[in-house]
Symmetry: C2
Subunit: 424 residues, 2 copies
Amino acid sequence: MTWTNSKDSALRERAMAVIPNGMYGHQSVMLMPDDYPQFFERAEGAYLWDVDGNRYVDFMCGYGPNLFGYAHPEIDAAYVARLRQGDTMTGPGEAMVELAEAMTRQVSHADWAMFCKNGTDATTMALMIARNFTQKKTIVLARGAYHGAAPWCTPLKNGVTPADRANQVFYDYNDVESLEAAVREAGSDLAGIFASPIKHDTFIDQEAPTPEYARRARELCDEQGALLIIDDVRAGFRLARDCSWSLVGVKPDLSSWGKAIANGHPISALLGADIARFAAATIYATGSFWFSAAPMAASLATLKLIADSDYLERTIALGERLRTGLTEVSGRHGLGLRQTGPAQMPLIMIDEDPTGAKGYFWNNALLKRGVYFHPWHNMFMNTAMTDGDIDHALQAADDAFKLLKAAGPLEPVAKLEFMHAMVG
Amino acid sequence: MTWTNSKDSALRERAMAVIPNGMYGHQSVMLMPDDYPQFFERAEGAYLWDVDGNRYVDFMCGYGPNLFGYAHPEIDAAYVARLRQGDTMTGPGEAMVELAEAMTRQVSHADWAMFCKNGTDATTMALMIARNFTQKKTIVLARGAYHGAAPWCTPLKNGVTPADRANQVFYDYNDVESLEAAVREAGSDLAGIFASPIKHDTFIDQEAPTPEYARRARELCDEQGALLIIDDVRAGFRLARDCSWSLVGVKPDLSSWGKAIANGHPISALLGADIARFAAATIYATGSFWFSAAPMAASLATLKLIADSDYLERTIALGERLRTGLTEVSGRHGLGLRQTGPAQMPLIMIDEDPTGAKGYFWNNALLKRGVYFHPWHNMFMNTAMTDGDIDHALQAADDAFKLLKAAGPLEPVAKLEFMHAMVG
């Protein structure tokens, strides 16, 4: 079938009339290569169909939620069964207790759980609990890390006041001296240290945490009586069947979760250690749908797969097949690729591409060949992908490299320049 | 069947181990009369069953979401059909555009829509958009009004810093002079005025907005170039088939929605007028599940019922039957009731009950008779309720009044005193 986008274009035009700028947030395709569709019709397993019927092997996985394949039969059946019995009721169902038990069993640092809807809910609760626990205000955060879209953390500062960003000190991820300096600057007012499980910032190479950095963050919190917070919203259960920092042997006091914990059903969570239990019990946190039973039932089904299946080894193997193949294919064309991050959460950038134009060209060509890659955000593998899907992506990458070489020098991407100017 | 609570008690004990204080937020039953169950098993139409199998006519409606009855066949079918096709995908479905079109058609002040998950998401976006639009900081809010559970607005201040509450000035609802004084205090820094559609604060009598107050709020925003924001999360579509302030002939610039707009499925919304479109397009706002297609499909089905059915007249008639009946029954026992708020969102308080003890006793007795009332939060009617359900509630109220009169003087409610001390 020939790639077309007439329905997507028509919908974009309608969207422009009734949605500010036609779209917002991370789903905006304004900053993507030109042909990326904005609206999708169907999703199943590893595949996504846009409204024009073009099929993609989707390496974005809904920006993380799809871990076991879209429309997973058992997980969705658990959701629907519970929906029929009662979902958003005047109080929670039994599933809330079962899910708190399952999460605290699965995540070794956690003694208790609270459930919410957005990743931002969980990180904001962590912030409040750290301040309530210490009765101090200053939070130390890694420069450039994403912790959500509330005024205290959103990457764009439009509509944000200086007071919203008060009591924050920044450090460079993996830089022990920088972390120590930030903690010194916080002085006697340190409430907590936030860390992403890995450095998974957009546009730049990903980094695993060094054990020295992770251990030092733990020590500094212990020395100061502050709380260590791991924001596992994006990477949770993708790197380990436990909190991601279990891989470096460091236990946080709090960890935030979301995205994949119910394979796409709307639920996020904050997990904590006993030390923070009273502080957690005495903040006010709630939302209209936080106690809905159906997403909790779906999350229980997801956690069962996390505990009992080889999903982790499977997504790593798929990611390694992709990584090895891309190294081989790009090498054949004499093009360098920087493939960073864990194999199952890869970020793929083309070398010698300061403006991003090569990446945009290459990704756009992949898209036309049924492969949905992202030019500057880490991607995700899911267990519904087959070796054949990876090989299809490698073939498409090969074709796209050929086109890229044939294209010669490329103009800078105006929308990328605009975005970088805006984020500053 | 005899009322029992052994399963609920057992679950509460398990919850205490893995959830801070066993529960959090508005679903906490810590502050409810002693016998109120915490965990529910089933919900259908007007009824709710707790985990011990006790059935209630539920006048809380999930704290608002249940407008057309729990487990509504058409609305839930729309959800499930869309879930099977693809829910949380890498981008939104066509339903997002359709829903934005439907919402802006239904709500007369709105030219555009953004969708989110919590009511707090929508009120926080409104806050940011007002500040982005005006490039000013100060927000004027009614004292005691609830606008969500983020650090800038949560009713408890644990974990909240003074900076989180910077740039806020308070006024008394319906008091024009107080509003004018607050706007004067904001001076040249006024970004926006927040107003609840009605005064629906907990613990106190509800009030409709006076036309003078509503019009003055609009005028002051116009004079200052600030935005008027109606927080219709709780009352939206329960008072009118339009924004609630259409009843007083005042159009806000922004309105926040949630709760009932998908009859319990997880979606909230911010609607806005053209004037705020660019400011809305240039804030960063997003969440993991904000673009999920299934809740949007459910909301479209709900909006169809809102536009085409007599749901509004039906819930008003049910509310009036309850109100008239309760006046009659309480009068017969020589007890005064204050029934405030619109009939379809009633708050019911017993006269001469300064400690709340009478209300707790009476509500607890209603509960044991299969009627779920709330002692200090407004309640809600839904279209699945029958005249028979109302009459059942009236009979239970009659019995509960008898018991209350027979009980003699009551001890103050310790947990209520504690809560009032905490909120301050």
